[in-house]
Amino acid sequence: MRLNCPLCGPRDRREFYYSGSEDLLNRPAADATVEAWNDMLHLRLNPAGVTRDLWYHETGCGSWLLVTRNTVTHEILATERVADRKGAA
């Protein structure tokens, strides 16, 4: 499996660290409810099919990537830098 890093180009899966579902980006406010924190940290939709998750280009440029891929076929559909997303700081 290869991921196409927007900065580095197509790279071997071994260069990346998998962190988990894109839910991890929806970090609640510090004073949010326990439910909101539980949602973000633990509960998952866990789809069989298209999903979006977070990968870190560990031995490359050091970008956090948002990868759209298929969990059944392992096909990679899109890769973007978290920092480039609309609304990202």
């Binding site: 499996m1 071997d12 899966r13 071994r14 998998y18 962190s19 988990g20 579902s21 326990v34 439910e35 539980n38 949602d39 940290l41 633990h42 509960l43 998952r44 939709l45 866990n46 069989a48 099919g49 999903t51 998750d53 990968w55 969990t71 059944v72 076929t73 392992h74």
Partner: protein
């Protein structure tokens, strides 16, 4: 039909014409007291103990494919009780005791073989951790012994003791650990449940869970609707999707775990051996194949096949530990879908829907858990109360902060 040595002998004399199918293939009834979703080890064991321990026989197991076609027939069959944390410790201890009586109980040869498992350590820190674990295991009433390098050399002369990278400092041995024939466990429970009147329904996928006013009423399946007073979800790697049918989100992410088997060889590895410095463990099957595996591929997946980096890692780790296996040819590799929780421990609990129960989150340790999981899930479904040894496997422990992170690797689904 009761199986016995005499029966095999007499059948041999008369052309083996007297054997009958091990279970019936009934059509689903319209109504059951309880249905179980998933005909893997856990679902079949739950049905068996519901019938045997609680006298519930108007029940059905609904399996979307064939019985035992899931992870119960894809795992590397290690059975052990070397857990540390309160909650896990008593549960796996109970499970191992059930394993020890399982063949007599089921009248079925599951080829349970207590050949021992040794976990190697390669540093002072690992040694301390394993001694602590061994003490906890002895305190829970099970067996563990710390083996010196000399003792290991005598028993496992083929390990590479003198390498400079990961020298072997010793190992923790559990003699009562071992292996079992995975399919036979599914078949044995299936036959036992069927004999007690349980309907085993194959090629029957559950496509919906009917809920009225927060109470479960039954399920929709590819073989029609089935009403049920209680529904148990035992779908292992597919737990998230089955729970979604009831509108629930579980603390589970599904990952693929691979395993490998070589051509048959003469007996050489007579215990289960786990490497402490890489993802590698190995045993030898009764047919002679070396059966070995490593860790999950580390990213969410529903493909029952893995990727090459983990293959390479497992082979490298194996060669580091026991170079002698280098000449064996790998015959087959495969993958199974693991239901990974954020703390690596399982869930046996009620859900917010009345009458709907969940048994999930087995990570890659669910085979050894099969008897106790069925026992405790049956107890929960029959009495509506958690069983004593499974009382900490709560669905809401993530929200309340009562995580059971046996390996201490942190709250991330793929790290256990």
């Amino acid at each position: 039909m009761r199986y016995s040595a005499l029966k095999i002998f007499t059948e041999g004399l008369f052309g083996n014409k007297g054997w009958t199918p091990a279970w019936r293939t009934p059509d689903p009834k319209a109504d059951y007291d309880a249905v179980i979703i998933g005909g893997g080890g856990h679902g079949l064991a739950t049905a068996y103990y519901l019938a045997k321990n609680h006298g519930l026989t108007n029940i059905a197991v609904l399996e979307k494919s064939y019985l035992g076609g899931g992870n119960v027939g894809r795992n590397t069959t290690i059975v052990r009780a070397n857990y540390f944390m309160p909650g896990n410790s008593e549960f796996y201890s109970h499970s191992l005791r059930l394993w020890e009586g399982l063949e007599a109980d089921l009248n079925y040869n599951v080829m349970h073989s207590q050949r021992g498992q040794v976990v190697l350590f390669h540093s002072d820190g690992q040694r301390d951790a394993q001694i602590r674990r061994a003490n906890a295991i002895v305190n829970q009433g099970d067996d563990a012994e710390i083996m010196s390098v000399d003792q290991l050399r005598a028993e496992f002369p083929y390990l590479d003791y003198d390498q400079t990278r990961f020298p072997i400092y010793g190992g923790m041995m559990q003699r009562r650990a071992g292996t079992a024939r995975h399919d036979a466990v599914a078949w044995g429970y299936a036959r036992g449940a069927d004999q007690r009147g349980v309907d085993l329904i194959q090629n029957c996928e559950v496509t919906g869970i009917d809920i009225e006013n927060g109470v479960v009423k039954g399920v929709q399946t590819t073989r029609g609707p089935i009403r049920a007073k209680k529904v148990g979800m035992c779908a292992a790697g597919r737990s998230g999707q089955v729970a979604a049918l009831a509108g629930l989100r579980l603390p589970i992410e599904s990952h693929v775990l691979q395993a490998f088997v070589t051509e048959g060889l003469k007996p050489v590895i007579d215990s289960v051996i786990s490497f402490g410095m890489g993802h590698f463990y190995i045993s030898q099957s009764d047919k002679g194949g070396l059966v070995f595996g490593g860790d999950i591929d580390m990213y969410a997946s529903y493909a029952a096949r893995g990727n090459l980096p983990m293959v390479e890692h497992v082979m490298e780790a194996g060669m580091t530990l026991m170079p002698m296996i280098g000449r064996a040819k790998v015959l087959r590799a495969w993958g199974g879908i693991m239901d990974m929780t954020p703390d690596g421990s399982p869930i046996i609990d009620k859900t917010p829907v009345e009458g709907l129960y969940v048994d999930a989150g087995w990570n890659y340790g669910g085979f050894k858990a099969t008897p106790a999981s069925g026992w405790c899930m049956a107890h929960l479904m029959a009495t509506n109360e958690p069983h004593e040894v499974a009382r900490r496997f709560r669905l809401d422990r993530f929200r309340t902060g009562h995580l059971m992170d046996e390996e201490g690797t942190g709250s991330q689904h793929n790290l256990h």
